[in-house]
Symmetry: C2
Subunit: 348 residues, 2 copies
């Protein structure tokens, strides 16, 4: 292994000069700099990251902890973190927690003393544990918030509002909600978007809570039957994976989408465009969130002790594809009370 000492010796300068020359520091004559760079190249010098980290105290590495690499939601965030880290000359240490809150806690601890900062994506750990973790001051949250921690989350409430307004405009006056896990922070947000009164245009919409489902395809299959039994003409889902499950089940049961039932998802993962019919869904800027989390890590370092950390909330927007359409006219298959058009509605 060729060290800086070797380069300095070969270039006929001191260690300090060689160091300065290679790190673009001032106070080096052009001639010497040239000479050092040249011999470093010639000798195939590779700086030792370990040594550098030891003296500077910075590793040039940021950590990323997420629940599941195979989940397209997290993969998209990871991609964003990657990209931004690369642009700023850093590497990313990724840890997959397998959706396990305890393991997550361990990994965060292990990672924290090998990285400059940590991006925690959709952490599953309970609030007290999370608060202890963010107290370290070097972690940024994605898709969750905690007191004292910088975070970037999504305006899901507005996403829900947009989805409901869309369905309302199509004539759906009762929409079912296939929710995510009860412990989910995101699900709480979506739910509160209903109950908190929402915007004026959705006031008239009745929301049927189908319950809590595992945020995967199977959860959607389960939810679909419930939605059908409840006679809903539209189903809003916790995420796209659930929506895909709903779509599959409806298809299997011979229910046409969107003719009989409309389905709306959340997140706009890649698979949303690949199914039939393409899924109407609330798009969430996943990669952008990952990138911004990396930036928040940086400002965090420079932040004064008393200053409140920055909380960003990224906008969401509805992407209308083909899984949503006008509410069906009341028909024989609808609940009894709707068998025929209500007379009082017909008469002005």
């Amino acid at each position: 292994m060729v060290t800086l000492r070797d380069v300095a010796r070969a270039a006929g300068v001191s260690l300090a000069t060689a160091s300065r020359a290679l790190s673009d520091a001032p106070h080096v004559s052009a001639a010497n700099r040239e000479q050092v760079v040249r011999t470093a190249e010639a000798l195939g010098y590779r700086p030792s990251h370990a040594a550098r980290a030891l003296t500077t105290g910075s590793t040039g590495t940021i950590g990323l902890v997420l629940p599941d690499l195979e989940n397209p939601f997290f993969a998209a965030v990871a991609k964003g973190v990657q990209g931004r880290a690369r642009e700023t000359g850093r590497e990313v240490l990724v840890a997959d927690t397998d959706e396990d809150g305890d393991l997550e806690r361990d990994l965060v601890d292990r990672l924290l003393d090998r990285v400059d900062g940590l991006v925690l994506c959709s952490p599953r750990m309970p609030p007290p544990a999370l608060e202890r973790v963010v107290a370290d001051g070097r972690v940024a949250l994605v898709n969750r918030e905690a007191p004292g921690a910088p975070s970037v989350s999504f305006d899901t409430a507005d996403g829900v509002r947009q989805a409901l307004a869309h369905l309302r405009a199509l004539g759906h006056d009762a929409v079912a909600y296939a929710g995510g896990p009860a412990a989910s922070w995101s699900d709480a947000l979506r739910r509160s978007a209903f109950t908190a009164g929402g915007a004026a245009e959705v006031e008239a919409t009745e929301v049927l809570d189908l319950g809590a489902f595992r945020p995967v395809h199977a959860g959607g299959v389960q939810a679909a039957d419930l939605a059908l039994a409840a006679g809903a003409s539209a189903v809003l889902c916790f995420n796209d994976l659930v929506a895909l499950g709903v779509l599959a089940r409806l298809h299997a049961r011979g229910v046409r989408v969107p003719d009989d039932v409309s389905v709306v998802g959340f997140d706009d993962v890649a698979a949303a465009t690949l199914v039939t019919p393409p899924l109407t869904t609330v798009a969430v800027p996943l990669a952008r969130a990952g990138r911004q989390a990396v930036d928040l890590l940086d400002v965090t370092g420079g932040r004064a002790a008393g200053q409140a950390p920055e909380r960003r909330c990224l906008p969401t927007h509805l992407v209308v594809r083909s899984s949503s359409g006008p509410a069906p006219a009341p028909a024989a298959s609808s609940p009894a009370v709707r068998l025929s058009p209500d007379p009082e509605v017909v008469i002005p």
Copy 2:
């Protein structure tokens, strides 16, 4: 920051003894070990990875370079690498190359001097560059092979054989192949599985080469039209993403699967079960490959200089779902030459 020196001082022992005590080394009295461990705990001592790496020369980190984190194929491999690394007490530095061979080369270089070993998944770089990289001796390949490098790949030839035998048994005697990028190592393997004569049971099958497509959904859409025009009753696809595209396009054009056309994919990614109809596909042990690559990294270190690196080939197996079925009886919609059963075939 509390250092080992602090612990030693507080415990009333020397630096050396403290170090030995905490690293489970021999030659330490039980009493002292107990005492050191206790005070380290009390003081909240965290060993410095940078310092340790500097003296030991090992970082406890392995690198993983892959083309695209959002591609479920690579995500599965990454998950395997993660899992195995964790079990063996190491962290994983992940780098996403965005399918760019040049960037890949750079990243490999940058990563190599921060990690103990590197797993290169489906590298896109040309063979000469790859050979130079693996010459380092600390890299293991997944889904590609190179002279002198340990690697774990898949028995795709057998996968192709299984798929063709399956289709043959269903009465398809002409199957179309929707190939991947010409530069793809995997595609070359699949293609050669056809031309190399294959096993006896597939000899009689005629293979229509549809051409090379981008290994994504859109590629499948493109391929589907070609398959239809060629009058194929079955399409074997480079990977599941392409197969999903084929499925979507066939559906859009009113072609029933598997009644009119059978479709078979490759890889068995999660999405394969989520579409309608569920995809028949060749399953490939992705996560297992990732795990084994990590292990190969270890044996590589202990390997004698002259010893050839290990090349593993993991078995594949066909998963029959609902996208493949019996070949349709010749009908009006078939190519003209098949409008009616050929007389000469009917007469024995």
